[in-house]
Amino acid sequence: METNSTLSRTPSYVLQGGLAILFLFPIIWAAVASVSPSPGSSQVFGYGLGNYKTLYDSGVGLPTWLLNSVVISVLTVTFVLAVSMMGGYAFAKFSFPGKNVLFLSTLAILMVPSATLLIPIYLLHNFARTVPIIDQIANMNLVWLALVLGMFQLPFATYMMRISFESVPREIEEAALVDGSGTFAAFRHILLPLVRPGIVTVALFAFLAAWNDFFAPLILINSSAEQPLPLALVNLRQQTMGAVDFGSTEAGVVVMSIPCLILFLLLQRYYVQGFMSGAIKG
């Protein structure tokens, strides 16, 4: 194989380049299509942002849906990080009765299809709304949705934080404890900085999952003003009677994709590592 000349490798380069273009093509196409003229869309003549304008003005409007998506994603990341950082620390560095049962129960979430959990969670949601204190929480439905999305992320996050804390040598924690700091100070100032890669991976996956989820909001959100963007886009498409506006749908696809693509390109290393440890050992 080492004797191959550049010439004999050319077909292979063409194949590889062609494949790469094939994988990138749909995304580039969506970006171009969203600003291209097409009959039946809001961008009939010449290139421009007419489709984005329509999306901005339609229904309760793009800003509301975008804000919902941001609120849901930020809450989900917060819940998942808070719970999995503490839980990962407990599972890695402490022993207490019931530890293994709790850890296995957390991982067991992976075994149950999300539909099987969302049906009772729908009923539980209705029940929670009848409890006065819970019902008075601001944006209760969005908070509830974020808690549900966080639950789906919990197995990967807890597992990831557990192996991160386990890789910190025992001596470092003990040295901190001998110095007179309590477990919380040791946790906060010594251990957390050391497990930063794990934290970034968990936050990245929790954000992408919450930002992109469609099934949970489809079941749990029923007011147009509380929809996150993916649900709003699918519903918008169905509400349009007669001629379907493909242009503004593709504009929505671009808006949804931009944060994912930026995070992916910035944090690709964490993304791949997360996939590997989640997939191989999870």
């Binding site: 590889q16 990138l24 503490m86 407990a90 009923l123 009848t130 699918v234 379907v244 992916f264």
Partner: protein, 321 residues
């Protein structure tokens, strides 16, 4: 010497309280996980079993009042549901197709990007990019790609049509209908899935490929093995654990398909692309039978559990080989 024994006793007593304190501290850190898992996992699992035993209706079913006890009718009526068997067969058909294509594609890509280098890392990134998009987003994207109105295949077909007409080869212009018939709808949706997830399986199989020791390949090349022989008799057998793992993930994921069909085909044409999870969704929120939907979802849960147990046994067998 005489004071040694009591001192040890005091010491061990203190160690015991220290151990007990540490247990408590550990439990305190695990407490949020415990509460979370109980409220959003354990209670829902119990609740879904309870719902599946009652004639729970969408608009009237509440937590203290699930409606009449409806056993075993909720379960026994499932096989009589007009959509159940078509959904089972369609979901299996889709799972087989998606698994074969995804693992084939993932393996091909992994072999392409096996070696390092700048060009290869660009390739890996471009294969991974689609995975960063959400499934519903990607489905909406392909809904546009497959549409006659703005899809890129439309101008292409127009060009081919006019060329054909000029050459006298075609008398009737035609368009591709990507989602119009049951088979094209299945195939078009699978293409979307392969596009989105091939990079993911590439990574899993790449890890497996790179775990194969170099000297095995060297020994094969000394023995004069051809590239095909090396792949067939060395790479493939040593990659079996990674392939088996990919299969488990891919089969589980495909059996639970929902978003892509909900967005692209809505289960059509003529309910030919209704998956099991779509059936659960329709039963619960369109036909408003939460009780029977819960029963179907428990059947799916048990089936999936048995299938995974079976596959894990197979995986362990593979590793032992």
């Amino acid at each position: 010497m005489t004071s040694a024994a009591p001192a040890r006793e005091v010491g061990s007593g203190r160690r015991l309280t220290a151990k007990r304190t540490r247990q408590l501290v550990g439990f305190f850190y695990a407490l949020p996980t415990l509460v979370y898992v109980i409220c959003f996992f354990i209670i829902p699992v119990i609740l879904v079993a309870w719902m599946s035993a009652h004639g729970c209706k969408l608009l009237t079913c509440t937590i203290p009042n699930p409606g009449q006890l409806n056993l075993p009718d909720n379960y026994s009526s499932v096989s009589g549901n007009d959509l159940f068997w078509p959904a089972v067969f369609f979901t299996i058909e889709y799972t087989v197709l998606a698994t074969v294509l995804l693992i084939g594609m993932g393996l091909g890509l992994a072999l392409l990007v096996q070696k390092g280098g700048r060009w290869v890392s660009v390739l890996r990134t471009s294969f991974l990019v689609p995975g960063a998009l959400g499934l519903a987003t990607a489905s909406l994207l392909f809904w546009g790609v497959y549409s006659g109105a703005i899809g890129p295949f439309n101008p292409l077909m127009d060009g081919l049509n006019s060329l054909g007409t000029q050459l006298g080869l075609v008398t009737q212009t035609s368009q591709i209908s990507f989602l119009g018939s049951p088979n094209t709808a299945l195939l078009s949706t699978t293409v979307l899935i392969v596009w989105k997830y091939a990079g993911f399986y590439m990574i899993i199989l790449l890890v497996g490929l790179q775990a194969i020791p170099r000297d095995v390949y060297e020994a094969a090349s000394i023995d004069g093995a051809s590239r095909w022989q090396t792949f067939r008799f060395i790479t493939l057998p040593l990659l079996r654990p990674s392939i088996a793992l990919s299969m488990i993930l891919c089969i589980t994921g495909s059996l639970l398909a929902f978003d892509q069909f909900y967005v692209l085909t809505k289960g059509g044409p003529d309910n030919t692309t209704v998956t099991l999870v779509q059936l659960i969704y329709r039963e619960a929120f369109i036909r408003q039978n939460l009780g029977t939907a819960a029963a179907v979802s428990i059947i799916v849960l048990v089936a999936l559990f048995l299938l995974n147990a079976l596959q894990f046994r197979g995986l362990r067998g593979n590793v032992a080989d």
